[in-house]
Symmetry: C2
Subunit: 292 residues, 2 copies
């Protein structure tokens, strides 16, 4: 990534960090401070802020003022954060650490972690509804995010993933899981960006294709790294997904590397619908090739 691209990436990330820190769940007069603390503990835990970056850059590529899309970017990040908090719970993945810090329930207890997740999910829709954009745009945003995050999207994918643990899946089933579990929220981010930027319906379709392809490329790359990668870079134990139906177990490492290449190309091809897509192209290349 060249210096100009790098500068834009930093600008996006700084903007969302400031926005989340200063505008989200700050109520000095309210008594339930521990809830706000729990929500902000996970919301402000850093990370790459990829989904907000997608919102911002798809908005910019469509000719919009990307800073106006900050509530949309924050909403997607809130949904992503709530899903991590609930995924880490003892009854789900039972993780004690995430990104080197104690998970939410290890700090605040299980009950508070459930509630902090619930409030982040609710807060995401509040953020969409109060954005400084016209009513039609905001309600389309609610439609996009609720569909991508809900029973047909992210949560549906989580359920399929849980169910798959006890049996062998077909390649199509594994793709279905990750289309919902991983790609759906990336799709929400890209589509919310197109929406906020006033993009065309052709651009909306291209954003969907882009997100779907990139989401699968990510996931397959993750599966490969889980087998051949090193634990330090990924930040989790190598082979932790041992029992699951992964792309690598179904297709082997070589075929998976070819799949990553094909999906990445498909994602890049979809960017042709956006005039100035050098940043997004460069970002995706960096993300996919980061650990190879």
């Amino acid at each position: 990534m060249n210096p100009e691209m790098d500068r834009l990436l930093r600008e996006y990330r700084d903007y969302i960090e400031d926005y989340l820190k200063n505008n989200c769940f700050v109520y000095p007069q309210e008594p339930q401070q521990v809830l706000f603390d729990a929500m902000r503990y996970s919301l402000l835990a850093g990370g790459k802020r990829l989904r907000p970056v997608f919102v911002f850059d798809f908005c910019r590529m469509c000719g919009g003022d990307w800073k106006q899309a900050a509530p949309f970017a924050a909403a997607v990040e809130m949904v992503h954060t709530y899903s991590l908090i609930h995924d880490d719970l003892p009854c789900m993945d039972n993780d004690d650490y995430r990104r080197g810090r104690l998970t939410n329930h290890k700090v605040y207890g299980e009950a508070m972690a459930v509630l902090a997740g619930d409030a982040l999910l609710t807060g995401a829709f509040s953020a969409l509804a109060t954005a400084d954009l016209d009513a039609e745009t905001r309600i389309q945003g609610v439609k996009i995010l609720s569909r991508c995050a809900g029973e047909l999207g992210m949560v549906g994918g989580q359920v399929l993933d849980m169910q798959s643990e006890s049996r062998e899946c077909t390649p199509q089933e594994v793709e279905d899981i990750h289309t919902r579990k991983t790609a759906a929220l990336i799709q929400a981010a890209c589509c919310l960006g197109v929406l906020a930027g006033g993009g065309s319906s052709e651009q909306m379709d291209s954003a969907k294709t882009f997100a779907h392809s990139l989401g699968l490329a990510f996931q397959i790359r993750d599966d490969i790294l889980d087998v051949i990668g090193n634990a330090e870079e990924l930040g989790k134990a190598v082979g932790a997904d041992g029992n699951k139906n992964t792309f690598v177990q179904l297709h082997g490492v070589d075929a998976c590397q070819e799949m990553v290449r094909i999906y990445s190309q498909k994602a890049e091809a979809a960017l042709a619908a956006f005039p100035d897509h050098r940043f997004m192209e460069s970002l995706c290349r960096g993300l996919i090739n980061r650990n190879h």
Copy 2:
């Protein structure tokens, strides 16, 4: 309640039952059927459907076509249902039964119950967004529901309630808990009805006052019944809230009965803003006096 009122109540209830049964989370082609089953197990578990009835009747009182408000009514009921599923979890109240049936996590497991709740909450906003009402009305609906259900409303009240268990609260603190935990979602229901019915801002304010007063009257009456009521009628063990800060423990039974009377009167007075409020008045009287 006279026969005419009774007929309207049955009409509201039948309509929401049919709507939830036929329109919500029915996707025969999708693979994650167990998720839809878990969501519908709790969503279709009966109950009085009070919140949908509030949505419908406030819409009707404002001169709107109440059947058009069905997606709004369904949304409030989805939020209510998700909150019950999460409240019943082992890490929260750890309840095995609700309304005489096994709780969600006892049937589907804890992980699925967390996810079913998450999907119901997400689905509520999808229902609001896809209602057959103009964009401005729908986005105002998202604002109302997200605010009443979120960190400043129902979830915030749940947290305050949890925190109160380990110490003595002031009367103001106990009122704050129930204003958020119980009254906020009733307020969402009444306000969504006014919104869908095209009511005035004066009617919106009256709906808020009504809901706040009725919510507190309900809660205080519940606290009284917990001390003097019988277990069969309430459907839970008498004295189960023994350790909590209740209105009765703070004020005594006699003062609480007076408080129920005052809050009920305040709720009824707020109904003056609505021309034909006989049904709502009669419903509230029936609800408050039901077990005395």
